[in-house]
Amino acid sequence: MIKIKVSLLDDLYKKIAETYPLYLPVEVAGEVNYGKYNSDSKVRLDVLKTVKSPKDAFFPQSENLVKFKVDGQKIEVIDVREEAKPFVVMGVRACDYKAFDVLDRVFLVDPLDTYYQTKREAGIVITAACGRPDETCFCTVFGIDPTDPKGDVTTWLVDGYLYWRANTAKGEELTKAVSSLAEETDGKAVDKQKEEVKKILKKLPNADIKPEVFDENMLDLFHDKKWQKLSEACLGCGTCTFVCPTCQCFDIKEFITNDGVNRFRCWDSCMYKDFTKTAGGQPRPTQMQRFRQRFMHKLVYYPKNNGGLYSCVGCGRCVKKCPQHLNIVKVIKAFGGDDNE
């Protein structure tokens, strides 16, 4: 394990950015999101939760798929994919890292999503351990250890140092590139932080929720009357899905440019009333149905298809960001509560 002085972090970013495009939490207009590093970037590795998750790095909110160039009555199809060059995503929290796993099981199975695959393979992930979880966190519920995330490199921010541990060959390579800024360390400070954080984790208000209540009979869950009440304040906005690190639905759209058509995909939200709308109409016409779909998918359908893996990682972003404070925790608690209700 090595450590790098916090005062040298700018040099570290620059060093990495020399070789790779670097994506990490940066502050723009008061909010911290993943962004591409440049010398003006206000990097905020200290911030626990970026508003959007880092899933953009592999599954961008909008992404061109193909272009049709139109010249008079001639149409030419242009592949817009560029050769994948390695890039670095830094500061990924344990929950968000786990979310990549959830996405992989969607995009990297047959039919293979080559757009995702290319980026996933080219991406080098530097994770960041959590030093100060907040009340919305509940990753431990899903067996995630926020104090020791995986990834190509794991980092800890402790007492003015960034502790750095390479986990993979890719990680080792990166370590070499930055070694001039680093000093060797035994990592005891990291262990100490881990212990402190673990104490806090036990105190988290949502640490004891039980998603297992969703292992029950699928149809019973589906027809449960509670959904109506749970969803009644839902605005049908896409906030929860867009801040969620595991939501993976997208729509394919076209944009007419001045010389042709761009076909692109962009995130979609199952909360939207035009989600998967077809000529025959909307399969889930009511907001209750759409609301139910999201949670049933996260807690029932996905796990059933993926060996019990929930497609929620407990990042708590929806808990924090839902305009009307509806969220997965309330849903799980509602189903785990009084059965007579």
């Binding site: 207009a29 208000p205 906005c237 962009c266």
Partner: protein
């Protein structure tokens, strides 16, 4: 607030009991202190009924769907929400006869987000003590002035009057901050074009097009929004280009111009804390200055300035320039 809550609860249970109303729209307790949600209550179930400093949501828009369902509804509206209610009435979106409005005291709402911005994280509970808030967190107790935690929309509260109500529950004098209403807009107006461009470029670059602002907005009650309509030419699910960030917000604000009551919900719900109210408020300020003071929702019958005109209206060139 405690007292107000008790009185509200009392009225709600009385009216449900007597059959005067069939449903009550109010706020419901969440899992922690700040995650209250709008909810409907019925005679058998008033559990979780709450009214505290976190009950910021404007309930008026729920009435659009709710008043269609038949039966009589009791709704609790804060002064600012009553304007939205009135505006919806003028647009024939709510059946007035199905709704009983109780105007309730509001001393400004607080925003958990604000606490976090002030470095108070890991919030477990918040207690009001005079003009101070005591916050219990995972990392110890913190104290902060109520004012500092005030929700953005309450910082510039426009009114303590109820535009409409069937009865009110008010115990203490309410206050408003209307004199500050246009300060932020004025600051932006004083900037150079370049500065304003940079400001909005940065703010709007955060927009994730979650549509929370639109979906919460009591003026946005279109059956089918232009931004969801592929035929409109401006439909889009994502801001695929920075142009679309501006397009969405400019057109959305234009569509609610003259109908926006400045309830501030758009800014409250924005996950990226974009000061969206400053866009709507610019229209309000311009309309006030160009065409005379107008408050949407103040009266059901008033003609919205954007569908009205006078022969002596100012020219665009006079107010915007436009010529070198």
């Amino acid at each position: 607030m405690q007292k107000i809550e008790e009185l509200m609860y009392k009225r709600a249970s009385e009216m449900l009991e007597s059959g005067e109303v069939d449903r009550v729209i109010a706020w419901k307790k969440g899992e922690t202190c700040y995650d209250v949600s709008p909810a409907t209550f019925t005679k058998d179930n008033l559990e979780g009924f709450v009214y505290d400093a976190f009950c910021g949501a404007n309930l008026s828009k729920y009435l659009v769907e709710e008043s269609k369902k038949g039966g009589k509804i009791l709704v609790f509206l804060k002064p600012c929400d009553t304007y939205s209610f009135n505006q919806l009435l003028s647009e024939h979106r709510i059946k007035r006869e199905n709704v009983y409005v109780i105007g309730i005291e509001c001393q400004g709402k607080i925003d958990a987000n604000k606490l976090q911005k002030k470095g108070i994280d890991g919030i477990l509970s918040v207690e009001e003590k005079g003009d101070k808030l005591t916050v219990k967190t995972l990392y110890g107790d913190k104290e902060i002035a109520f004012e500092e935690a005030l929700s953005v929309k309450c910082e510039t509260c426009k009114s303590k009057e109820f535009a409409v109500s069937d009865e009110t529950i008010v115990l203490n004098e309410m206050r408003d901050n209307r004199e500050k209403r246009f300060e932020a807009v004025e600051r932006l107006e004083k900037m150079t074009e370049e500065e304003r461009y940079a400001f909005w470029q940065a703010e709007l670059s955060k927009c994730i097009r979650c549509n929370a602002c639109r979906n919460v907005c009591p003026a946005c009650t279109c059956t089918h929004c232009v931004f969801d309509n592929d035929k409109s030419g401006i439909a889009g699910k994502a801001n695929a280009d920075s142009f679309e960030e501006k397009l969405f917000h400019i057109i959305r604000s234009y569509h609610v111009a003259g109908r926006c009551t400045d309830c501030g919900e758009c800014s409250r719900v924005c996950p990226q804390n974009i000061p969206l109210h400053l866009i709507n408020r610019k229209y309000i300020k311009d309309m006030n200055e160009f065409y005379g003071e107008y408050q949407a929702g103040a009266a059901v019958t008033a003609l919205n300035p954007i569908v009205d005109f006078t022969k002596e209206d100012v020219e665009a060139a006079t107010v915007v320039g436009g010529k070198k």
